[in-house]
C-alpha cells in the first residue's frame, strides 16, 4: 500500500501511526484467516470423509447381516438337500425292495396260477370214491381191499398235502405219501437206508420199482407233475388212480394226464 503524497511521515506521525495500526490489524486478521481456513477445511474434509466412512460401514454391516442371513439359508438348504438326498436314497432302496417283492409276488402268482390250473385240471378228473364203493371195489378186487380202505381211512383223517412232508401230522406230497403207504403195507423192495428220509427215498421210487406196461390194481402210476398214484382197475367205470394231491387224498381218472410210466408193486 502506497501512502498518499499529501501525508508525509515528518508532519503526520499520529496519522501514520494510525495507518500502521490499521495495516497491522489487517495483517493479523489475514494471519488468523490463513491459519484457520486450512484447519477448518481439513476438519470439514475429515468430517465429510468420516461421514462417508460411517455410511459405508453401515452398508457393509447391512451387507454382512444380509450375507449372514444368506449363509444361514444356504446352510439350511444344504441340510434340507442332505435330508432329501437321504430320503431319496431310502425311497430308492424301498422302491428296489418293493420291485423285488413285486417280482417275487409275480413269480408266486404265476406259480399259484399254474397250481390253480393244475388243480382245475385235477378237479375235472376227480372221481367220487367212498366207503360204499370201496366195499364194492373190494368185492371186485379182493387183493386191493386193505390198500383202498387204508387210504380212505387216511382221507377221512384229513391228512394234508404238504410238499416235502414226511409224517401224518405235517402231511405228505404225492411221492412221499406213496412211499409212506408202501412202507406201511411192507411192499417188497421198499426199505429205507440208514439215515435216509421218507422224502429222499420217495424221489428214487421210480427207479427202485420194476417197470410194467400193463398196470394192475395196486401198481404205481407216475405223472409229469410229480404225482405218484396207486392204480385201480375198474372195468365198470374205468380205471382210476388214488393218491395224495393238493386237494388231499383224492381219486382221479387214470387218464387225467399222460403217465410218465407204470411201476409194479409186489404186495406181501
Amino acid at each position: 500500500m502506497k501512502v498518499s503524497t499529501t501525508i508525509t511521515p515528518g508532519d503526520h506521525l499520529p496519522v501514520l501511526l494510525e495507518r500502521i495500526e490499521r495495516q497491522e490489524k489487517s495483517a493479523r486478521s489475514r494471519a488468523v484467516l490463513y491459519s484457520l481456513v486450512p484447519v477448518a477445511l481439513t476438519i470439514v474434509l475429515l468430517g465429510y470423509t468420516a461421514s462417508s466412512v460411517r455410511n459405508a460401514q453401515k452398508q457393509v454391516d447391512a451387507l454382512k447381516t444380509e450375507a449372514a442371513t444368506y449363509t444361514t439359508q444356504i446352510d439350511s438348504l444344504k441340510k434340507n438337500a442332505d435330508t432329501y438326498k437321504n430320503q431319496s436314497q431310502s425311497l430308492q432302496g424301498d422302491a428296489e425292495s418293493y420291485k423285488n417283492q413285486v417280482t417275487e409276488l409275480q413269480a408266486q402268482l404265476a406259480e399259484a396260477q399254474k397250481t390253480l390250473s393244475e388243480a382245475v385240471n385235477l378237479s375235472r378228473a376227480v372221481r367220487t370214491t367212498d366207503y360204499a364203493n370201496a366195499k364194492e371195489l373190494a368185492s371186485r378186487f379182493p387183493g386191493s381191499e386193505s390198500l383202498l380202505l387204508d387210504m380212505l381211512d387216511l382221507r377221512q383223517r384229513r391228512i394234508k398235502w404238504k410238499p416235502g412232508g414226511q409224517s401224518l401230522q405235517e402231511g405228505f406230497d404225492s411221492p412221499s405219501f406213496a412211499m409212506y403207504i408202501l412202507k406201511q403195507k411192507r411192499a417188497s423192495g421198499i426199505e429205507l437206508r440208514p439215515g435216509e428220509s421218507l422224502s429222499d427215498a420217495s424221489h428214487s421210487l421210480y427207479d427202485k420199482l420194476p417197470p410194467t406196461t400193463q398196470p394192475r390194481t395196486g401198481d404205481l402210476v407216475f405223472y409229469p407233475a410229480g404225482y405218484a398214484m396207486f392204480y385201480f382197475a375198474d372195468p365198470r367205470e374205468g380205471p382210476f388212480v388214488l393218491g395224495m394231491t393238493p386237494f388231499g387224498i383224492t381219486a382221479l381218472k387214470s387218464d387225467f394226464a399222460k403217465p410218465v410210466g407204470y411201476r409194479q408193486v409186489q404186495w406181501r
Partner: protein, 117 residues
C-alpha cells in the same frame, strides 16, 4: 520534527508490528503442533481420530496442516521490525549522545515510510 516524537512513534510502530509477529508465530506453532500430532497419532493410534482404513488420509491431512503453519512465516515482518529498530536505535543514540540532528537519518526515516506505506 521533534526527535522525541519520532522515537515514540517508532516504539509504537515496532510494538504494533511485534504483536503481529508474535501472533503469526503462535499460529504457525499451533498449526505445526496440530499437524504433527495428527501425523503421529495416525501411526501410533490409527483408529483414534479416523477409522484405521483412513490412516493414509489422516497422515496426509496432518502433513498439510503442519506445512500450513509455515505459510505466515513468509509474510513475516521481522525485516521491517529490524529496520525500524535500527532507526529507533539511531535516534536514541543521537538523543542520549546529545548529537546534532542528522538530516540523512530523517531522510531514511521518510524514505522508509514512503516505501512501506
Amino acid at each position: 520534527m521533534n526527535m522525541r516524537a519520532k522515537i515514540e512513534f517508532l516504539k509504537s510502530a515496532i510494538a504494533s508490528q511485534q504483536v503481529t509477529l508474535h501472533l503469526q508465530i503462535a499460529l504457525a506453532a499451533m498449526l505445526f503442533v496440530l499437524g504433527i500430532t495428527v501425523v503421529i497419532l495416525s501411526f501410533v493410534n490409527p483408529g483414534l481420530i479416523l477409522a484405521e482404513t483412513l490412516k493414509t488420509g489422516q497422515t496426509l491431512a496432518g502433513t498439510a496442516v503442519a506445512a500450513n503453519g509455515f505459510i505466515p512465516i513468509f509474510f513475516s515482518r521481522r525485516d521491517k521490525i529490524v529496520a525500524l529498530r535500527s532507526l529507533l536505535l539511531s535516534y536514541q543514540h543521537q538523543q542520549v549522545g546529545g548529537l546534532s540532528p542528522d538530516a540523512k537519518l530523517d531522510e531514511y526515516f521518510d524514505q522508509y515510510f514512503a516505501k512501506v506505506l
